[in-house]
Subunit: 327 residues, 2 copies
């Protein structure tokens, strides 16, 4: 088989079938240059919440076997929903998105990305995408954490174990902080979540003296309020961002990917710590967000992860807002 | 009112309410640098059709008064659909997207963007976004035109009236070519479309000797086939792109924005030349695309404009495919 370049160079590429033509002669254009590399656009996107600039920064994705991801439904039922939504039926591609808000106090990040958490072939893109967006990690004044799973906190540190956000305070929910800092809870935790105890110690240590622990539903700073959303982890927390009448809810991992998980809020993901509590939380929160038509973003939602929820059947459809070429 | 910078410099920014805190002291971080400019990410996106690389390049948007856009429905009914879909109710923001396919014969563009067509404040972004994507206009071997409205052909020429794609042939549908090159048709055309006669002459002139006129449903080159989709203009043409079993339909302006126009295929847009024919065409094409689950892109679809159609009520819902950080 001829490769692409040899086909181009041979000139065979332009021996077109004789269609009706107004050409005086066939254009004698044969490009000998290799095609541009198939690189993707940088993963950032800007929008406004009132007068505040918000930037979604993509941190890549992880790919999970679909089999076993939903623990209370047969695989075939899960596959049928994915097929109906034009998604692959063998693996679930789960994106990561970190939201940055330019507040009047400075730049605030919501969660910290995967950092150098292995495997790094498809994730850990946040710092590069921040650079593309013109976001300097040293300018981040606060990193507000939803929960302590590795994909949300490992990016607090660099591969060398230093602070990735050297000048930031780290804001953490009290319930979450206490749970993962008490080794006595390890035996009460699902086996696949037990590594979070050691990872918690590892990622927060370099922020000693810079950690602010907030109570359930506390104000983080003017316009930013914690919203307890326990279940996915014991202290999992969403954040409500407001500027005047404009608002945005960062739901974090209240659900994983909206297709299929928000469409089916009764489906229990293997990544949920307390699946029944997580379900009750997401139904309560998504009922409100859809009824009140509140703009939202989610950590594992399809980039740029900004849109709204509508009711659909027993669940919710995430409607990505139209991409805009201006901010 | 203090401006943002003076608030930051005053130190007031960090006088946080005394929440529960584990900080030894509040982090003394006050950034005096101005925030990064709120620029949007470059408007390009890559995906695969089989082994072919496809790039959507955004050309910005135009904004139309909603009042009068749908000619056969009361404004309030149109507004209700937009409101239900989280869209503004006063103006319709219509994006432009040019699709580039790296074929075995070289790089092919589908339509040519607005170029320097006025107004240029929000449109004419294609060349800059091509540069961001690493796409060199001199490497384009063919520009395949769907129809001759100004936003699709004006980008054939630069602001100086030169060929924007200096080495390209231009492929045009015969029905469209004949119609807009016959001044006798002017009196038979809707008044707002009459400028297309002069614009057609102006944009194609510099491609003299490089224009290939194809019949309805002809093969453009191996894997690319014209699909007559008359109505939006007399010779409006979609294109079917295939590589092995993989396929993509470029529907061009078979509908304008899918919200609200694909949702309501019986709504007649003021931009359609023959609204009844356009409706029949879109129902026929969208019936097939949704039933066969064919991947598609459209010129005025929300960027990156790549996804699928599903039936919804009497119409069709466009489901944007998940953005992927890898191609």
């Amino acid at each position: 088989m001829m490769n692409r370049r040899s086909i181009l160079l041979s000139g065979a590429a332009l021996a077109a079938p004789a269609l009706l033509t107004a050409c005086a002669e066939a254009p004698a254009v044969v490009s000998s240059a290799p095609p541009p590399p198939a690189t993707q656009a940088p993963g950032f996107y800007r929008y406004k919440v009132g007068s505040l600039n918000v930037t979604t920064v993509n941190d890549g994705f992880a790919s999970f076997p679909l089999n076993g991801f939903v623990v209370n439904k047969p695989l075939a039922e899960v596959q049928a929903v994915l097929r109906a939504n034009f998604e692959p039926e063998d693996r679930l591609r789960v994106p990561f998105n970190v939201t940055f808000v330019e507040t009047r106090r400075g730049l605030v990040a919501f969660d910290a990305g995967n950092g150098a958490l292995a495997p790094t072939d498809t994730r850990g893109r946040m710092i590069a995408n921040m650079a593309a967006a013109g976001i300097d990690p040293t300018k981040v004044v606060a990193v507000v954490i939803s929960h302590f799973h590795g994909d949300h906190i490992s990016g607090l540190t660099t591969a060398e174990g230093l602070r990735a956000f050297p000048n930031a305070e780290v804001v953490v929910p009290q319930t979450e902080w206490r749970f993962w800092n008490d080794a006595g809870n390890e035996s009460r935790s699902p086996e696949r979540q037990r590594s979070s105890f050691a990872n918690t110690a590892r990622r927060f240590q370099v922020y000693d003296g810079r950690i602010r622990i907030i109570r359930d539903n506390a104000e983080v700073m003017p316009g930013i309020r914690a919203v307890a959303a326990h279940g996915h982890t014991p202290g999992h927390t969403a954040y409500h961002i407001a500027d005047g009448d404009a608002q945005l809810m960062y739901v974090a991992d209240t659900t994983n990917r909206p297709v299929p998980m928000a469409l089916n809020p009764g489906w229990h993901a293997v990544v949920d710590f307390d699946a029944a509590m997580a379900e009750a939380t997401r139904r309560r929160m998504y009922d409100r967000l859809s009824a009140d038509r509140v703009a939202m973003t989610g950590y594992h939602f399809p980039f740029p992860a900004y849109g709204h929820l509508t009711r659909e059947g027993d669940g919710y459809r995430f409607r990505l807002a139209d991409w805009q070429s201006t901010v």
